[in-house]
């Protein structure tokens, strides 16, 4: 492989972009897994009940709140 092509700014940008995408999708998949365990307690139905759906939304948003608190706390 032509080593210079690995250093092209174009490729570096694309890699940075892909890295960010990978972090986002990892976060979604981890959060889906743990919110699923918290919110979907019964056997899965043919559609989510409104309480299951809002539990999932709340779960994700409270996770963000918590992350913020943790970051602030660690910055002190």
């Amino acid at each position: 492989m032509d080593p210079s092509s690995m250093n092209s700014p174009e490729l570096q940008n694309l890699l940075a972009q892909e890295k960010q995408n990978a972090m986002i999708s990892e976060m979604i998949s981890k959060l889906t897994s743990s919110c699923w365990d918290k919110c979907i307690t019964g056997s899965p139905g043919s559609k989510f009940s409104s309480s299951e759906a809002s539990c999932l939304t709340n779960c994700a948003q409270r996770y963000m709140d918590m992350s913020l608190i943790i970051m602030k706390r660690l910055q002190q």
Partner: protein, 87 residues
Amino acid sequence: MDSFSSPSSGSPPKFSTDDIMTQLRTQLEQAYAEEFLETVRGKCFDKCITKPGSSLSGSESSCISRCIDRYIEATGIIGKALFNQRH
């Protein structure tokens, strides 16, 4: 280094940035799909196969298909909750 840079091969084949990125994207997609599959397997096995019998029952299989659909839907809900509506 690698086989591509051996001097005997004359001028080394050049891979364009596009080739590398296409390759990378394909492999990433494959990795995401595998990981997703593995997660869904685990979740739906826990939910639907609570007492493994001598064969898969009809209610177990329909539970599994609902479970897969709901898990995909849950992934969408989580994604939206994280990125679409900030307070």
